[in-house]
Symmetry: C2
């Protein structure tokens, strides 16, 4: 009976591979290095071989596996399974990801952009599983989005939809990596949180945070928890922008849940609380009590579970 | 054979009622005054009687009518057919619109917010009929939105979705009627176009547009066509905001068409051309050639056709 899935969370430095059942439990997990410099085919061969070995070791037949799901960074054609381009994988241009992995494993394989996989993971295995309308927002190196509307993944005409991180909320704002100004990502990604802290150096050179040397987004949140002034100013701006962004998503989608994930979300309540407090300021009263904003509770395994959920979603 | 629908375009001063076939042709049309001061029940009784008289005069049996569709301004519960509130209809609070109209006509009746009806009309009867992914934007007294995703109307968890006019694109922008600052509506609705022109009075008191007395949005567009400076400045701002807004919708929805309607859209190419030119500046290159931005070609009958399309959509 086909009642398990393989979830593959493809990362620039390591790849997590998990065997996941229909309840979202991870039965087995392997982490391998992603040797990007070896090129597309070697990377995928190693991933495929790891999947086959895992099944063999666990004494699980391919007949029990519904499919393999991969959450991939970058621009992905979800219908053909081809990665069009991916910033951290230089030679992955029009790389036939699912085709090659199917060739190696002989298991049906499906791919989604990693932010879509995150949203699907919340829909399938999160706290509010099987809730019909969910917005997933991932705050990490970039800001990504995935949207479930009435139990369907929002993909758009070409599969490019739900680029929630590149909604412009401040046209005269900072330059974003994408070329526009004032996208949500230009405030709320980890590197941009650090950038905003550094911009205060001239004004507050003696601030504690500048004594740390290399600053990370985590440092900013930790310093804010201690009431450090530069970190508090940055956090105030970041959470205001996220509140405006989330109010926009709520006016557009009228979701039941907005779930925030990604590395930055590990900051916890110091990030979440001000967002929850500020968002209603920008919303129509009619939206009161229609939504909740929460942090993902899948945390470390969100990638594997999200990727596995692709399989369950495609087979529902 | 049930192959016709009644479309009712409910307005604050007049109500248009049309008999519409499955191709979107209007077979018969009546325009009656909406005597709002008479109260909800009298207004709807008059509408219902007009429908019944129209069928009688045209010698059409109720058996040929698939249903009645109503596009209503304000906040509408599309499932129960109740109007929660509507700015121009003071006593329509929790008004059982479809129930009462069904009681009078004995014909199945469906209601949608008027901007959703506009989007459905474009999907059913517009130039690109049966295109799967359409964003409809109505620029009038307010700015409304309706979204068709993969042949489905976006409604959200409570039916409140697609408030595209209240996406914030400039948090320090002008106060909007909804209480937020810098919503798209606070720039691109007819009254706000006029407001922006008036704000130039101090700077350019001798400008031609201020010799007109009472200024309308149409005056602003007409003056811009003649190269008048204040009108040109206003139009530059309005089309930039709309280009940013539309690029946001495209990043979010990846639609095939963005169709602009409502009274303001009658301005024509002086409104459309700068939007078409500027929108790609804010978009990722991957979205190139994935979308078109156009004005609605349903114009005067968009309301009736949009309302009739509700019936075809609910029965598809």
């Amino acid at each position: 009976m086909k009642n398990k899935a393989i979830g593959i969370d493809l990362g620039g430095t390591e790849t997590k591979i998990g065997l996941v059942n229909g309840d979202g439990d991870i039965l087995k997990k392997e982490i391998i290095s992603t040797d990007v410099e070896d090129g597309f085919r070697k990377v995928i061969l190693k991933v495929g071989m790891t999947v086959l070995e895992m099944l063999k070791k666990e004494n699980i037949s391919k007949n029990e596996i519904l499919g393999i799901g991969i959450g991939s960074p970058g621009s992905v054609d979800r219908n053909t399974g081809i990665v069009l381009f991916s910033p951290n994988f230089p030679d992955w241009q029009y790389a036939p990801l699912t085709e090659y992995l199917e060739e190696i494993t002989n298991i049906d394989t499906f791919v989604e952009n990693d932010a879509n996989a995150f949203a699907l993971g919340e829909w399938a295995f999160g706290k509010h599983r099987r809730c019909k309308n969910i917005i997933g927002l991932t705050l990490g190196t970039g800001v990504g989005g995935g949207v479930i509307i009435n139990d369907q993944l929002l993909v758009g005409a070409n599969g490019f939809a739900s680029e929630l991180g590149h909604v412009i909320v401040q046209p005269e704002g900072p330059l974003c990596g994408c070329g526009s100004h004032g996208c949500i990502e230009s405030y709320a990604s980890a590197p941009n949180i650090v950038r905003q802290a550094k911009e205060y150096f001239k004004k507050f050179p003696d601030s504690y945070i500048f004594s740390l040397g290399k600053i990370t987004a985590k440092d900013v949140f930790d310093a804010a928890k201690k009431g450090e002034s530069v970190a508090t100013l940055v956090l105030e701006k970041v959470t205001t922008i996220l509140a405006i962004a989330i109010s926009n998503y709520i006016h557009i989608f009228n979701p039941e849940y907005v779930i925030i994930g990604g590395g930055v979300s590990k900051a916890g309540s110091i990030l979440l609380d001000p967002i929850v407090e500020k968002t209603p300021r920008y919303l129509w009263p009619s939206f009161k009590n229609t939504f909740n904003i929460e942090l993902s509770n899948l945390i470390e395994d969100a990638g594997i579970k999200g990727s596995a959920s692709i399989v369950y979603f495609r087979n529902k």
